[in-house]
Every structure is written in C-alpha cells, then in structure tokens.
C-alpha cells in the first residue's frame, strides 16, 4: 500500500467524521427547536398547572440558549482542532511523500547520470583504444609501404644498372671478337653438351 492510498484513506475517514459531527450538530439543533415548540404546550400545560413564574422561565430559556451556544462553540472548537490536526498530518504526509518522491527521483536521476557517465567513459575508452590501434595499423602499414617502395626502387635501379652494364659490355665486346682464342671454349661447350647434340642428330 503506497503513501497516496494511505492519504486517501485518512481523508475519507476525516470526511466521514466531519459528516457524522455535522449530522450530530444538525440533529441536536433540530431537536432543540422541536423541544422548544413542543415545550410550549407543556410549558403552557405546566404553566397552566404549575404556574412557572415568568422570570424563571426566562432564566431557563437564557440558560438553555447559553448551554446550546456553549456546546456549539465546543463542537466548533473540536472540529477546528480536528481540522487543524488533519491538515497538519496531511501536510506532514504530503511533505514526507514529496520528499520521498524527490529522493527517489533524485536517486534515479543520480543513477541514470552515473550510468551515462560509465557508458560515456566506456565509449571513450573504446574510442581511445580504437584510435591507438588505428594509429598502430597506420604506422605498420606506412612502414610496410615505405619498405615496399624502397625495395621497388632498388629493384628498378638494379634493373637499369644491369641493363646499362650489359649494354656497355655488348657494345664494347662487339668490335673486338677474336675467335682464335675462343676455339678451346667452343670445343669445350660442344663437348659438354655432346649427349644432347647426339640425341638431336639421331
């Protein structure tokens, strides 16, 4: 049972009490006036029988009026006291409920802010890690690319160099062919491939 339900129950009880008291006061008032009208014949009767003196009669009426007023004042005072008490309790209860609600809301808000902070912190950590990984990848990739480019350039230079040397040798040797000194090399070349040549001849 929550606080609002309790408050409702208290308000209903108070309303009920006020209703009962109002009915009681009203009935008392009605009864008094009835007695007043009914008492006349009696009074009359009594007056007729007993002959109540006029002064006593007036005194009694004044006294009854005073008692009635006193009782009404007393009821009003009690009712006012009850209302003040109820109002005070309701206020207290309201403030208690309000503070509970505010506390709950504040706690929830704090928890939500804390969750958001944790999530944000987690996202920032992940992002930082991804950035570091990406930087590492970039460094490695860049290093590899530079190395590959370097090797390619070296290869190109080597190829150009080899072509230049080959061209130079070919150009230089072309004009000074001396077959006489090559006889031994030629016969050795034939000798070393004798079997292949024989196979082709046959």
């Amino acid at each position: 049972m929550n606080d609002i339900t309790i408050l409702n129950i208290i308000l209903i009880i108070n309303a009920f009490i006020m209703g009962v008291l109002s009915v009681y006061g009203f009935k008392h008032l009605v009864a008094h006036f009835k007695n007043d009208t009914n008492k006349h014949p009696q009074t009359h009767t009594i007056t007729e029988k007993t002959k109540i003196p006029r002064e006593l009669k007036e005194e009694m009426l004044a006294k009854a009026e005073r008692d009635f007023e006193k009782m009404i004042d007393h009821s009003i005072t009690e009712l006012q006291s009850d209302l003040e008490k109820t109002s005070s309790e309701v206020s207290q209860h309201f403030s208690k409920i309000s503070s509970n609600i505010i506390n709950n809301e504040t706690d929830q808000y704090r928890q939500m802010v804390e969750n958001l902070r944790l999530k944000t912190s987690e996202i920032i950590d992940i992002s930082r890690k991804e950035i570091i990984d990406h930087q590492t990848d970039l460094k490695v990739g860049l290093g590899d690319n530079i190395e590959a480019e370097k090797q390619l350039l070296i290869k190109q230079i080597d190829t150009k160099l080899a072509d230049s040397v080959s061209s130079f040798l070919i150009e230089a040797m072309q004009h000074n062919v001396d077959l006489g000194s090559q006889t031994k090399y030629i016969i050795e070349a034939l000798e070393s491939h004798k079997d292949e040549l024989k196979k082709e001849i046959s």
Binding site: I170, M173, V177, I186, A189, K194
Partner: protein
C-alpha cells in the same frame, strides 16, 4: 661404299662443289676413254684437292671407271640430301683451323657424315650458337651476359 669425308667438306654447299668437280672429272674421263685409241691424252682436269682426295679414297677400294665414278656421284648426292646437318653461328667469319676443329669434332663425336653449316653474327659477341634438329643451343657470350645481369649490381656494390 665407305668414304671418310675430309674436314674441308663442312657443309652441303662444299659437298655440292665436290660433286661438280667429280662430274667434271667424269666428263674428262669419258672424253679421254674415247680418245684412248687416238694420238695423245688430254691433260687432267682442274679439280680441287678435296675432290682428288675423294677420288683417291674411292679408287683404293673400287675400280675408277665410268660406272664407278657415276656410282660415287650418286653416293655423294645421296649424302648431300640425307646427311644430318647442324648450323653453327659464330661471332665472326671462322678461320679454317676453327672450321676444321669443329667439323672434325662433330664427325668423330656426333655422326661421321654430319654437315656443318657455318654462319656469323657479330652481336653474339663470342662463343657459338648451335642449331641442331629442332633445338637451338645458345652458348654465346651475349646470352651469358644477359643471363647473369642480375649479378652486376651485387658485384658493383661489393667493389
């Protein structure tokens, strides 16, 4: 018939020249046989020493008459068309000694009747390129230089 081809007959062209010389000799022999009964013999025809060597070899084992000479010519013609041939390309015009060395080596190691066709190409720089059957064997200096060109940068780096 078994003839040992002299090393001076290297190619089919050389053999063709010899056949022409022997034909000339056959013609002279025929005329000389007709004139045999007559007054005097005409002088020997002007044929190459290689042709004379072939005729001498033939006459060692056969009688050198008109039919014998015709048989020799037929044999040589058959040899010209049927003998295996290799083509040797050198960096310049080969000397007779080099030609002789290559032909003798070929006849003693490959086939006794092999014909060697010589060509020259200065761009091969040295060594030789042999075309034999369907294959070409490139043992030229140019090929060696090109095959080893990847080593030049390494050699230059170590200088």
């Amino acid at each position: 018939m078994k003839l040992s081809l002299p090393s001076t007959i290297a190619s089919s062209q050389d053999l063709n020249d010899i056949i022409l010389d022997i034909r000339e000799y056959a013609k002279w022999y025929s005329h000389n046989a007709i004139k045999k009964a007559g007054s005097k013999k005409s002088e020997n025809p002007d044929i190459s020493s290689t042709a004379k060597e072939i005729l001498r070899q033939y006459s060692d084992s056969n009688s050198l008459n008109s039919s014998g000479i015709s048989e020799l010519i037929e044999y040589l013609e058959r040899l010209r068309s049927d003998a295996p041939t290799i083509s040797v390309t050198l960096a310049s015009v080969p000397t007779s000694d080099l030609k002789k060395s290559i032909v003798e080596w070929s006849r003693s190691n490959l086939d006794p009747n092999v014909m060697v066709k010589f060509q020259f190409n200065a761009t091969i720089l040295g060594g030789l390129v042999v075309k034999c059957g369907s294959r070409i064997f490139d043992w030229s200096f140019r090929r060696k230089i090109l095959d080893n060109r990847s080593k030049y940068p390494e050699i230059l780096r170590n200088v």
